[in-house]
């Protein structure tokens, strides 16, 4: 198989649990998806469905008492001899040197709140130079040069001056750009962007998304876009992963998901997008009920209490598995195959 | 909230200890077996008695009788046990009369002896220079000190919530003025402030009045911290939507404060109070050490520790230092409980 056909990141049956005294929270409970170079995967779902924990799990930076308890996270990376090798991130020591090289160097992370994601008491330059040095081994002044370049790359005007400023001195859009620049410091091949545009106004949102696309084209980066905004997904992504209560309920190419959603949950999500074609003053459909409390995870299919197609005796008894329904699309629902 | 508190294991232990100590407060007379001031030179500085638990193969606790004299060479009091004289212990024995909770007249005590006056025979923790039973004094001291702490905190709480609340709720000039007062009060070193205030107490006050005044003085210092906490909470709550909503809906200010704001920061207040209590207890012992707090014949932890604060106690009668153990225990317990409560009330420790 050609290298391009192989995913550079292959997440299989990832499970991350939080062990609290009150009980175990299964924040991610069997998530599987693949990420290809130069392409974008969107992970969507309501708040609390495990999107962010999935991102942190990949980097192995889940806070205690959380822990990756199962699954594999295969990362294909260039080894020293030019050959590609594959590591399972799930088996690495989370405090070890290897995973630290991967963080920022292979996989970078951008958060939704640029203000609080950059240290308030260090200049942007300070943090950027640190990252660059860490992953490139450059000297201080060379690293600074590169940091300025990076800032220029993400479209920050007068980067020579901005580099010595603090996050709170920048406007929201610039801050997010700086954040992206910071993430790119180690030339990662995968960028995980966790709600990168949520805190921004619509115009700025568009600019940032443009920037991401532009960078992706230029650096051949894979992007994992975590969002609850299906509009963004439609605009940006090649693949979509829909998560509910820590599980992947459906995944597939963006067209398939948007035009032929299989899982009742996906359908409901799509229906809740306001449409310009809709009649004025029609009530926006909402998803009935709310997400169950993490401790009170329902038996059977986790979505069954809210599901319009709930089949008593089936959905509340057995857990569905993710099954392919077409060449590229998979769904976990008993509507598409009995247990 | 409850869950978070329970995670703090030290806090659970701490709160159990605190409850235990306040039980002692309630039952001090019952737990003591001798009046706290009954003195007798012939048992001056008697070391803690060993209690023998088993007699003739069954559990029948007893102590030995003793005789004492002063060694003419060392000038120490020496005591010799009299193995022929076994004095059996009983629980719920009769002893000196008192009123339980200040109401029910009784003469039952937790322990006592058979066939002799308990006051003359039983010295679980030994005696002080005047031959007074340390165990019994400790019980009464616990009562005094813990009540002072509680009363002091109550007053501090009242002042703190009132002034901090006013400061935080109205803001503006009132806030500035109160903040200034707090800053000035905090700039004055505490000990001179105590000294000045304590020395200014009228001398013809009875022990009860002095007791109250000391409490007041201690709390005068303690309220600023509470006021700060309350003000901070008020300031942040003022911005909260539900308060604004209530305001817009035309609720009166008192109503807003009582029915909306107070409940929402009650847990913070409880935590802050719990943390202020040990400071009050330390203050009481320090004031007594300086000779400014409660004075004999009042019995408090401070008074007991002050009497042990000398070379001869360390060298000859180290058991006089025993009262330090409950003091340390209770201060730790309060601190851990308070920390636990605060963690629980506010996981991010604001």
């Amino acid at each position: 198989m050609a290298a391009a056909d192989q995913p550079i990141l292959d997440v299989r049956d990832l499970r991350t649990y939080f062990f609290r005294e009150e009980g175990t929270v299964k924040a991610v409970d069997g998530a599987s998806f693949e990420v290809f170079a130069g392409r974008t995967v969107g992970i969507v779902g309501e708040s609390g469905c495990g999107k962010t924990v999935t991102a942190k799990s990949i980097l192995r930076i889940v806070e205690r008492p959380g822990r990756v308890v199962g699954g594999q996270i295969y990362l294909r990376r260039a080894a020293h001899n030019g050959q590609a090798s594959t590591v399972d991130l799930a088996t690495l020591d989370p405090d070890g040197a290897e995973i630290r090289r991967i963080r920022g160097g292979d996989i970078a992370l951008v958060f939704q709140e640029p203000m609080s994601s950059i240290s308030p008491v260090h200049t942007i330059g300070n943090q950027m130079v640190e990252t660059v040095q860490l992953h490139t081994g450059l000297g201080a002044s060379a690293a600074r040069e590169q940091a300025i370049e990076m800032l220029r790359l993400v479209g920050i005007p007068k980067p020579e001056r901005r580099i010595d400023e603090y996050a709170f001195q920048l406007s929201g859009g610039l801050r997010q750009r700086a954040m992206i620049a910071l993430a790119l410091g180690g030339h990662p091949r995968i960028l995980i962007a966790d709600e990168p545009t949520t805190a921004l106004d619509v115009t700025t949102q568009a600019q940032i998304l443009d920037l991401l696309r532009h960078l992706q084209a230029q650096e051949q980066m894979a992007i994992v876009l975590i969002t609850h905004n299906l509009g963004v997904v439609a605009e940006m992504c090649d693949e979509v992963v829909v998560m509910y209560l820590g599980r992947v309920v459906e995944r597939g190419p963006v067209d398939a998901i948007f035009h032929a959603p299989k899982h009742p949950y996906t359908r409901m999500l799509l229906r809740s997008i306001p449409s310009i074609h809709a009649q004025v003053r029609t009530k926006l459909p909402t998803i009935a009920g709310s997400i169950p409390h993490p401790f009170n995870r329902p038996r059977g299919c986790p979505f069954h209490p809210r599901c319009p197609d709930f089949m008593p005796g089936v959905c509340d008894q057995n857990e569905p598995e993710l099954r392919a329904v077409s060449e590229s699309q998979a769904v976990s629902c008993f509507l598409y195959g009995a247990p | 909230m409850r869950w978070r508190f329970r995670r703090h294991k030290l806090a659970i232990v701490g709160s159990i200890v605190v409850i235990f100590f306040y039980t002692v407060v309630l039952f001090a007379d019952f737990l003591a077996y001798a009046p706290p001031t009954e003195s007798e030179a012939q048992r001056s500085l008697l070391a803690p008695q060993g209690i023998h638990w088993v007699d003739h193969g069954r559990i029948d606790p007893y102590v030995y009788g003793f005789t004492g004299r002063r060694d003419p060479l060392t000038l120490k009091r020496v005591y010799t046990l009299d193995p022929t004289k076994k004095i059996s212990l009983r629980i719920f024995a009769h002893g000196f009369p008192y009123r339980l909770f200040g109401l029910i007249p009784t003469d039952r005590h937790l322990i006592g002896v058979v066939g002799a006056r308990t006051e003359d025979t039983l010295f679980v923790l030994g005696t002080d220079e005047q031959g007074r039973d340390l165990w019994s004094r400790l019980m009464y001291a616990t009562r005094t000190s813990l009540i002072i702490g509680l009363a002091g905190v109550t007053i501090a709480l009242f002042l703190g919530v009132l002034l901090g609340g006013i400061s935080g709720f109205y803001g503006g000039g009132v806030d500035t003025a109160i903040q200034r007062v707090i800053e000035i009060l905090r700039s004055i070193p505490t000990i001179p402030l105590w000294l000045g205030l304590a020395a200014a107490l009228p001398n013809d006050w009875t022990i009860g009045q002095v007791y109250f005044a000391i409490t007041l003085i201690i709390s005068l210092i303690g309220w600023t911290e509470l006021a700060r906490v309350v003000r901070g909470r008020f300031l942040s709550l003022r911005e909260e939507e539900f308060v604004m909503a209530a305001e817009l809906a035309g609720s009166s200010q008192v109503r807003i404060i009582l029915s909306h704001m107070v409940p929402s920061f009650l847990s913070h207040i409880i935590a802050a109070t719990t943390l202020a209590l040990p400071a009050m207890i330390v203050s009481e012992t320090s004031l007594s050490f300086l000779g400014l707090g409660l004075r004999p014949p009042a019995v408090s932890w401070g008074v007991l520790l002050q009497q042990a604060q000398n070379v001869q106690a360390l060298a000859i009668s180290p058991w006089l230092l025993i009262p330090a153990i409950p003091v340390i225990t209770v201060i730790l317990a309060f601190n851990f409980t308070g920390d636990g409560l605060r963690d629980a009330a506010d996981p991010y420790g604001h």
């Binding site: 240290s119 | 700039s187 001179p192 050490f289 604060q309 003091v327």
Partner: protein
């Protein structure tokens, strides 16, 4: 910025004024005055003071005037930099204090440094490893210092030092160095006497600092910038020490102002028990003897120290925290 600073200066001056009034009130609160305690001490040693003499003494020290006149006279002197003559020591107050002030500072600073050296690592550890066994042990040990009455700890340690280690008893110098001019040997002698009082003083404050550090740090540890830093591949040690610890230290700057005067006044009891030649016992004695110029000067000094300290720590906060420093410059 300038407006802010000048506003702070004016406020500080007002506070100092209020403190001076309060200091005077405090030292004049107890009934009687210096003369009555003077008579008591003379009588105690079998001396004699006649009624007439009492009148003369009162007049001489201005104690026959109304309290506010006494205050104004005192302030008049203080403003000129004269603090009056200690009634008890018969020496200018500045001389009496001068001997001890810097020793007080040495002890206080040593205690503060030790407090920080103990509290910060423990605080960081117990925040990073919240609810671990180590957290419990560290917190417990830290709190022991808070719970044991310092006067008792001081005496017990001093006695044990004598009994088992033949250590010097109390004070800051051995007898032979008390009078000696400054030399390396004398400094060494001081250094040998310092650990005990420093440790006792430091233990008393450690718990509080541990608690603050732990809370601040817990607060910061959950911030996204920590996750980001980690995601950039920094080592855990570096992540913690460079980012959240640095931010959590900011509030500490504002405590420095209170810390020094707090240690000085907190050291009164310990200094008393250990017989240290510092300002604390002097203040206590002056208060008991109602040596009003001496007591007033010390209380005022401590108050001013606090105000100045607060001011300085505000400046320091301004300096170390860019958020405050650059506020409004954009």
């Amino acid at each position: 910025m300038l407006a802010y600073l000048s506003r702070r200066v004016v406020l500080a001056l007002l506070t100092v004024g209020a403190i001076s009034v309060l200091s005077f009130v405090i030292i004049r609160l107890p009934p009687g005055d210096y003369i009555s305690s003077y008579i008591a001490s003379v009588s105690m040693s079998g001396g004699f003071v006649s009624e007439q003499e009492v009148q003369v003494l009162r007049r001489e020290y201005g104690l026959d005037k109304p309290v506010y006149v006494q205050y104004l006279r005192w302030m008049g002197m203080v403003v000129q930099g004269r603090f009056g003559v200690s009634l008890e020591y018969r020496r200018p107050v500045s001389e009496v204090i001068g001997d001890r002030l810097w020793l007080t500072m040495v002890v206080a600073i040593a205690a503060v440094v030790l407090t920080w050296a103990l509290a910060l690592p423990i605080g960081i550890y117990s925040a990073v490893r919240q609810y671990s066994l180590g957290d419990y042990i560290a917190t417990f040990v830290g709190f022991i210092g808070l719970a044991v009455p310092s006067f008792m700890l001081a005496l017990v340690l001093m006695y044990l030092g004598f009994k088992y280690f033949n250590a010097n008893i109390g004070g800051l110098f051995s007898g032979e160095f008390d009078l000696a001019p400054w030399s390396l040997a004398k400094v060494w002698d001081l250094a040998k006497h310092l650990p005990l009082p420093t440790l006792i003083l430091a233990l008393a404050g450690t718990a509080q600092l541990i608690r603050i550090m732990r809370a601040n740090l817990l607060d910061e540890l959950s911030k996204p910038y920590v996750v980001t830093a980690r995601a950039r591949g920094l080592s855990e040690r570096r992540v913690i020490l460079k980012y959240p610890v640095r931010v959590a230290l900011n509030p500490f700057a504002s405590t420095i102002g209170y810390l020094l005067p707090y240690v000085v006044s907190g050291s009164i009891i310990v200094s008393l028990v250990l017989g240290l030649p510092t300002v604390g016992p002097l203040l206590l004695r002056a208060l008991v003897a109602q040596d009003m110029f001496l007591a007033g000067t010390i209380v005022l000094l401590l108050g001013v120290l606090t105000v100045v300290g607060t001011f300085l720590s505000d400046l320091m906060l301004l300096w170390i925290d860019p958020r405050i420093r650059l506020e409004g410059t954009r």
